[in-house]
């Protein structure tokens, strides 16, 4: 080895030491008893600066064409990051979409995104609303261009990704990191299962839990309360929308009317329900499953036999579902609008 190459090697080592201390690594913590996450953290290691950058981006309307719509316009923290009070979510210029915005929780475990699974990776999800004419109406390359003109973002990206500038890759990875921190695992249900001191289901909730396990858990699998599959849950087609769900992506008639099984966590606050927000109240949802199922060739097999629940059982089930509310998550200041 020549003296000059040794010198370069020493410089390189010093540089590496500086870089390895530049960001604060924060490990992703998996709640006790949960499965391994699907998200590959080795490709996007968590760091506090990246999470903070992602949070700034999440709440910034600069992502939309006319700076009116941010991610949080349709994903509000207090409603488990969905669009409260609107059956169909609306975006730029008051345009109305065709679906109810999904909640954002426990995304590290989700193998696909959107109601029809059109997006295959959390990193890539944000591209859809940014580029959609009815949502943010922007062009992703232009978003990056706008951020490159902003002193605030030049500095935030530099802190998060060292000196490599603002790129689409970094934008998407930072946004993912913030979304990955949106973990809801501290509802009463979780506390009961962890056998925390002085926490127990009421008699009604316990009965409801047992009904849930018998009739609902096949699709709304614990602990995430979804099996991440696509199912036709027997909703009659809304002819004003003619939304065929998963078939839009796969072009396979066997996927007609199938939509992603949503998580039930925090459902007390995430109304309205279903892909098109057609039900405002939990009672309507329960009634759908007990007496509203419309049969069809792609109907989920578990729903072929009607679920029979009397009035009292329906109330018990609802009582259990309300134990999935996680106030700590809904009001966690680390997830809210960044005031500083």
């Amino acid at each position: 080895m020549t003296p000059s190459s040794t010198k370069w090697m020493i410089c390189g080592l010093l540089l590496a030491m500086v870089l390895s201390f530049a960001t604060i690594d924060i490990p992703f913590t998996k709640p006790e008893g949960w499965p391994e996450p699907t998200y590959d953290f080795s490709k996007n290691p968590m760091a506090a600066e990246k999470v903070e950058l992602g949070r700034q981006l999440f709440y910034d309307p600069i992502l939309s064409r006319d700076s009116t719509i941010s991610c949080s316009s349709c994903h509000l923290q207090y409603t488990a990051f969905t669009h409260v009070d609107h059956d169909l979510s609306h975006g730029i210029d008051g345009r109305i979409g065709t679906r109810n915005s999904p909640t954002l929780m426990n995304l590290a475990w989700s193998p696909s995104f959107m109601w029809d699974g059109a997006v295959n990776h959390l990193d890539m999800q944000a591209l859809a609303p940014i580029n959609h004419a009815d949502e943010m109406g922007e062009d992703f390359a232009n978003v990056i261009h706008k951020l490159q003109q902003s002193d605030k973002y030049v500095s935030l990206f530099e802190q998060a990704f060292d000196d490599s500038g603002i790129t689409g890759e970094y934008f998407l990875k930072a946004l993912s990191q913030f979304e990955l921190t949106l973990i809801s695992a501290n509802s009463k249900y979780d506390q009961v299962l962890r056998k925390e001191k002085d926490i127990a289901f009421t008699e009604q909730e316990a009965k409801g839990y047992s009904i849930f396990k018998t009739h609902c858990a096949a699709c709304h699998q614990e602990p995430l309360f979804t099996n991440h599959q696509f199912k036709n849950n027997g909703l009659p087609v809304d002819t004003t929308l003619n939304d065929w769900g998963r078939m839009f992506v796969t072009k396979n008639p066997a996927d007609s009317l199938k939509f992603k099984v949503p998580t039930l966590r925090n459902l007390e606050f995430s109304y309205p329900y279903m892909h098109d927000g057609r039900f405002k109240r939990i009672a309507q949802v329960v009634r759908h499953y007990t007496s509203g199922i419309q049969s069809g060739p792609t109907l989920a097999p578990v729903l072929k036999k009607p679920i029979e629940l009397n009035k009292e059982e329906q109330i018990d089930l609802t009582a259990f579902l309300l134990t999935l509310t996680d106030k700590e998550f809904l009001f966690n200041p680390a997830h809210s609008f960044p005031r500083r």
């Binding site: 590496a16 030491m17 390895s20 295959n120 890539m124 580029n131 992703f140 390359a141 970094y170």
Partner: protein
């Protein structure tokens, strides 16, 4: 600490590769029409239909570049992903470094991006989604994009748009291209666009922007337009 070790390994490897004595190999991808190189955007006369075809842009991904001899891979480029864009002369010239004593008879590459990369999240460089070669409504890279116009297209402004992509079964569209070559420091690969238009009917085929059988048919035509004189 991990970064430190990786850097150490990288430095040692880069030292080794300098010592291994590489030589440059330049591959120039030249769009052509009837055997003549063309600059895109371009207007070309279509002999068969006696009209002109406007070519506005041509962009495609090449990946996993390999040199092959007797069906054995003798060299393959690491992290091999290239966006070739007719509007950027630099992007059409690939500068590779291959071992000096290597012998090969075939240049092999994939037209498009493999399925693993398609499901691996955000990527940088030529794979950055800001490059406009990524579908946001149905995740995946666009492998081959050809746009322009012709009076036979019954579309708005007579435009044709071929955005060919799709990675998942049964709509995978990535194609392998193999070209017989004579080893040389400078290779020229022609991209014969007249050959593409010869095999399609613009009146009927002019807008393909979703994965599916039509895309697969078109990209099989596209993979044949690469040739070495």
């Amino acid at each position: 600490m991990k970064k430190l070790v990786l850097l150490f390994i990288y430095l040692i490897c880069s030292q080794l590769s300098i010592n291994a004595q590489n030589k440059p190999l330049t591959i120039n991808f030249v769009p052509s029409w009837a055997g003549q190189p063309i600059d895109i955007p371009s207007s070309q006369f279509d002999e068969k239909n006696k009209d002109s075809i406007q070519i506005e842009s041509l962009r495609y991904y090449l990946s996993n570049i390999q040199l092959v001899k007797k069906n054995k891979v003798v060299w393959s480029e690491q992290n091999s992903y290239h966006l070739i864009d007719s509007e950027s002369a630099d992007s059409q010239i690939l500068k590779l470094a291959i071992p000096k004593k290597i012998k090969y008879t075939t240049l092999r590459f994939q037209l498009g991006i493999d399925s693993t990369t398609n499901v691996s999240g955000a990527m940088g460089g030529d794979l950055d989604p800001t490059k406009g070669m990524f579908w946001s409504w149905n995740t995946g890279y666009i492998n081959f994009k050809l746009e322009g116009s012709n009076q036979r297209c019954p579309t708005r402004k007579n435009q044709y748009q071929f955005h060919l992509g799709g990675y998942a079964y049964p709509n995978a569209s990535i194609q392998q291209v193999e070209l017989k070559v004579v080893p040389s420091a400078d290779m020229v690969v022609g991209v014969n666009l007249d050959q593409f238009f010869d095999q399609i009917n613009l009146q009927e085929q002019n807008s393909t922007m979703t994965p599916g059988p039509e895309t697969q048919h078109l990209i099989q035509i596209a993979k044949e337009i690469f040739n070495v004189k």
